[in-house]
């Protein structure tokens, strides 16, 4: 009779069901590392939002570029302006300001090339042009350099001075522009005036070709639990000491990108763009004698600054540094998808060399060193194993007119 009651209870609850806790499946999917239908529904939404965000950035970049490209009134400030500044100004000499270093004066006026809205108006002013062609008037204007409020007018006047007049009256010594002291500025003139550079490039970790050595680790990739006691229990095997290890082999990353570079002056440039990164790994579980490939795709937006340190003829050498934010847009394994789409933030520094095949087309090569911050997920990939990753970047640059 006693057994009847416990049997009754057991039978009564046979097949009894309850609703699972909210978010359970998402948690399991994340833990196992395999994205399944229910769990990926939410990700799909953010996925779509991400595509829209990327599209918006592209439109903004292209629009910004187009605006500048088709603006005929954009000022063409000549970098190697041979007009002189103050040395012949008797007023300054008398007032004791003649000893003031010329560099100081130059440094006070770097913003001249950054005021495009003012210059077109002045260049269309015929009276100014007339003034500029007159030597006497020009000297009068130079006097005004000490008056910072008149600076733009004077520079525009200097631009319109005929070459002959300039060479006769003032030997080339100095300019107001702080970045044209180098004697080779003539070669840079067209670069600076075009301002925009469009690039197509690729990169990979050639320097880390031997990095694909397999490294066993106490893997948590397919979950924290690797004891197989339950499976052995099922088989009547009580050996509970066996642990599973996971061996991952990360292939060299591949990166392709489109970049836009804006020349602040003929040394400094800002760059941004869009990049696509492909990370492939081979992950195997020796105990289970199986393996699978993991393929991750990232879309990223780099942003940085480059500084030209040397230039001669068709070759220029530069340093650059920047950051990049990337979003995983596709995470696949053999026959399936993962449900983890992490963000990846990195910083990098590089030294590059560019060779101009023709005036508007150059090829470049950039050894680079990047640091990739932990994305906070259990996802294993190349940059997780090698956060400090050297790479080689290369590509083409189109210097737009």
């Amino acid at each position: 009779m006693k057994e009847d009651w416990t049997k009754q209870m057991k039978q009564k609850l046979e097949g009894h069901k309850m609703s699972p806790p909210t978010g359970l499946w998402e948690g399991i999917s994340q833990e196992v590392g395999l994205g399944l239908e229910a769990a990926t529904k939410i990700s799909t939404k953010s996925f779509v939002r991400w595509y829209w965000a990327v599209a918006a950035v592209v439109v903004v970049l292209v629009g910004f570029f187009a605006l500048y490209q088709f603006d005929d009134n954009e000022p063409k400030v000549v970098a190697n302006n041979e007009n002189k500044t103050v040395p012949s100004n008797p007023v300054e000499e008398e007032s004791g300001e003649a000893e003031k270093p010329k560099e100081t004066l130059m440094a006070d006026k770097p913003s001249i090339v950054d005021k495009p809205s003012e210059v077109p108006f002045k260049s269309s002013n015929p009276s100014l042009l007339a003034l500029a062609s007159n030597n006497t008037e020009e000297e009068t204007s130079i006097e005004k350099i000490t008056d910072e409020t008149q600076y733009d007018t004077i520079v525009e006047a200097q631009q319109t001075v005929p070459e002959e007049t300039k060479s006769e009256t003032h030997p080339p010594k100095q300019t107001y522009l702080p970045d044209v002291i180098e004697p080779n500025t003539t070669a840079l003139q067209s670069e600076y005036s075009s301002r925009w550079t469009f690039g197509l490039g690729g990169a990979n970790g050639l320097l880390l070709a031997n990095n694909s050595d397999s490294q066993p680790f106490n893997g948590n990739y397919i979950g924290e639990f690797h004891t197989i006691e339950d499976a052995n229990y099922y088989k009547g095997n009580n050996d509970k000491n066996t642990k599973t290890s996971i061996v991952s082999k990360h292939n060299i990353p591949l990166r392709l990108g489109i970049s836009l570079q804006y020349q602040l002056n003929n040394r400094l440039a800002l760059y941004s763009g869009i990049s696509y990164t492909y990370l492939k790994s081979e992950i195997s579980v020796p105990l289970y004698n199986n393996s699978y490939d993991q393929k991750l795709s990232y879309l990223g937006i780099p942003f940085g600054i480059s500084w030209q340190i040397w230039s001669a003829n068709q070759i220029s050498i530069y340093l650059s540094g920047g950051t990049m934010i990337e979003k995983c847009i596709s995470a696949k394994v053999t026959d399936g998808k993962l449900n983890v789409y992490p963000w990846q933030w990195s910083v990098n520094a590089s030294v590059g060399a560019e060779y101009k095949i023709i005036r508007q087309l150059g090829i470049y090569l950039e050894p680079s060193l990047g640091y990739y911050f932990d994305d906070g997920t259990s996802l294993e990939h190349y940059y997780k194993e090698r956060p400090l990753a050297p790479s080689i970047q290369f590509g083409l640059r189109f210097h737009l007119k």
């Binding site: 009779m1 006693k2 009847d4 009651w5 416990t6 009754q8 209870m9 057991k10 009564k12 609850l13 097949g15 009894h16 069901k17 309850m18 609703s19 699972p20 806790p21 978010g23 359970l24 499946w25 948690g27 399991i28 833990e31 196992v32 395999l34 994205g35 399944l36 239908e37 229910a38 397919i222 979950g223 924290e224 639990f225 690797h226 004891t227 197989i228 339950d230 499976a231 052995n232 229990y233 099922y234 088989k235 599973t244 579980v285 105990l287 289970y288 199986n290 699978y292 394994v333 053999t334 026959d335 399936g336 998808k337």
Partner: protein, 181 residues
Amino acid sequence: MVTQIVERIRQKDQRAMSQLYQMYIGELTSVCYRYIPNADDMKDVLQNSFVKIFTSIPTLEYRGEEQFKGWLVRIVANEALTFLRNRKKLLFVEQSETVDEIDEDSAISNTERISPDELHQLISELPDGYRTVLNLYVFENYSHRQIAELLGVKESTSASQLYYAKQWLAQRIKVLTSEKG
């Protein structure tokens, strides 16, 4: 069908994993709730259980649907026990006062009148020690010797906990049925 699902999971078919989850999650949640009637803790235990299930299936020797289901339940029960052991020392309430004899005949007739949900809920309301032993003995078919080994207690403690659990349940079921009229 389950055979095919298991086979597909061995081949890393994610849909098969989803199907397996959908197929058994209701019953396994019920099992887990009997051990751990706390939503957050239950979620953790179920999550760990499924991770273990999916990672263990490749080495599983499939012997039929019934045995497979028993294996799933056993994994959840084991995970629940591990959780209970890790969380805190299980309290086994020893009643010093003399307990009444259980009238199991009336317990059977009263149990007939309550729903599975009500019985399930009453079991979940048992004190931890009572509930754990009752679950292992009644639902997992462990002997008192096995329970004693699992929980690190004497066999007599396991037996007494089961007795108190049944007495507690009989009283609660009686109250519930009397309320129903």
